[in-house]
Symmetry: C2
Subunit: 327 residues, 2 copies
């Protein structure tokens, strides 16, 4: 069987790296990957590393002449966008070119938890608008959302023992309501392996798909980490009203200065938290209500990293964290 040709945008991001690993490691399908890279990023170490692993790195300016993007995409079977969320507007240009080039499947940069398409998390609406644009092009698509990463899930231990594995910008974690809100989790390392399955699966064409590993409440997360670490973790609970206040304060700050990075971060993180930590929307049930296919039904044989095994790995000092540089 000939290789499936994939063009990937955002290959050096956290999701992009997992996708590269998932595609290159696939036993079922051979993938040839072209990473469309901003010209100014060609010489970054991440891209040198990709090149060594057989990924073709090509410079591409999505805002440049459309003809050039179309040329890059001609002969490509599948386009995957794992574009940085600040650049979502450029994804529309990528989709236009993909349509002209005759790409057979376009995977936009979703790769988020399950959220209401509108009204709860502002930036989710932009993803829905991009989906609407793709649909107005009649471009074959798959929309993939994934569980909240294990790598973003753990609270700090009082000893500081697992700080090495946590995002550098991670605040103290708070617990929504009584801590019994379920939320679908995934290991970022598994995401790319799910993607490799989904994009070659005819059942997922023109569908939304939800892939996740396991469902945990915050109380269960704390319990597992306490049991394996032997440490007692202080718990700070937060009400819906308190989260709403955080969001509104951040919104006010952003209205005063839309470049206020701290406010933007608080705004986005708090809006996401309100959905998964308070409203309980990051679940297979809400995904089904929204029309997603469930990865557990599609791939019952998929071998994923169990959350409890991830916690053990973290405590053994073996994992690599995500977002290890302050932005």
């Amino acid at each position: 069987m000939s290789a499936v040709k994939v063009a990937l945008v955002g290959a050096s991001g956290e999701t992009g790296q997992s996708i590269v690993n998932g595609l290159l490691g696939s036993q079922d399908t051979k993938f040839d990957i072209v990473a469309l890279t901003r010209p100014e990023s060609l010489e970054k170490p991440a891209n040198t590393n990709l090149k060594e692993r057989g990924v073709k790195i090509v410079p591409a300016d999505l805002r440049g002449p459309q003809d050039e993007i179309v040329k890059l995409l001609s002969g490509i079977d599948i386009v995957i966008s794992a574009i940085y969320f600040g650049s979502l507007a450029d994804e529309v240009l990528l989709a236009n070119a993909a349509k002209i080039a005759g790409v057979k499947r376009f995977v936009q940069s979703a790769f988020m938890i399950i959220l209401p398409p509108r009204g709860v998390v502002d930036f989710r609406e932009q993803k829905e608008n991009n989906l609407g644009h793709i649909q107005s092009l009649h471009l074959p698509y798959t929309y993939i959302d994934v569980g909240w990463w294990y790598q973003l899930t753990l609270p700090r231990l009082p000893s500081g023992r697992i700080d090495y594995a946590l995002p550098k910008t991670q605040d103290n974690q708070v617990i929504g309501l009584d801590g019994n809100i379920p939320s679908a989790l995934a290991d970022i390392r598994d995401v790319g392996r799910y993607v490799a399955r989904i994009i070659t699966d005819p059942r997922t064409l023109n569908k939304k798909v939800h892939v996740y590993n396991e469902i945990y409440t915050r109380n269960q997360v704390y319990e597992v980490l306490e049991r394996h670490s032997g440490e007692k973790i202080p718990r700070e609970y937060i009400s819906e009203n308190e989260v709403n206040t955080r969001i509104e304060e951040a919104r006010t700050a952003l209205n005063k200065n839309h470049k206020d990075g701290d406010a933007l971060s608080t705004f986005t993180v708090s809006q996401l938290f309100r959905s998964w930590g308070i409203r309980g929307e990051n679940t297979p049930e809400y995904a089904a209500y929204l029309g997603y296919l469930n990865g557990k039904d599609l791939y019952p044989d998929f071998e994923f990293t169990k959350f409890e095994d991830y916690v053990k790995e973290v405590l053994e000092g073996k994992v690599k964290g995500v977002y290890q540089t302050k932005k």
Copy 2:
């Protein structure tokens, strides 16, 4: 079996009337209908007629106190909104009240042809925004789109013989491209009967559904009408560029005066025509791509009026037209 309690908004409109007929005529299910009616419309002849047929008419101001709407909806199983498209913003208030009242299924005012959710027809975006709002409420829903009405499909005959059956505001019909674009049609009289099936069907909960009778191209429509009438109908073809020009000219006029009724009508009709008459989006294939269930799969036994039989009825002087008053 006890009756299914339905609250209907917009009962006196074309779609609303068909829904009343479809529910009251159902052999499978007994429906009790409450028509929520604007206080100023209570004494309209249409509402007197509904009352005589066993529909309960209750005054309701959707912009009034929410408590009152919630009270009206308590005990209601299904809310159907066939609200006038100029009042779509009020549908959000209706959905909020339905959520609080514990309504089991909310059917928003879709009832349009299949259109891209965004980017091609402006007012379709408002329906998609309302769907997004409903989904942010976690309110059980069904989104129903229907074929282009037979009643809006026929061109005038040179003899004027079928003018009685055409909308009073109907312009000369034009034919998109070469006339071979397929489009899904439905008899408005069948729409309510489809709705009666859909809203009691567990398979359609939290889904989009597309119901239509038959697929016709414009050339086929003209051929059927010519064959049965014995008249030759002049044909005026129009290109995509010409339609785009009409849309842009109407948009310019609307930007100057957003109350320009003729411009709004041209704008909306031309945007719709571009989709069904040029882009060929009003088809089961495009509906499937957008994630709709197909009524033909759901109800293969559904007995509908064939287009050719409708044409014969029209020529026999037997039908009642839609939009018989100039607005």
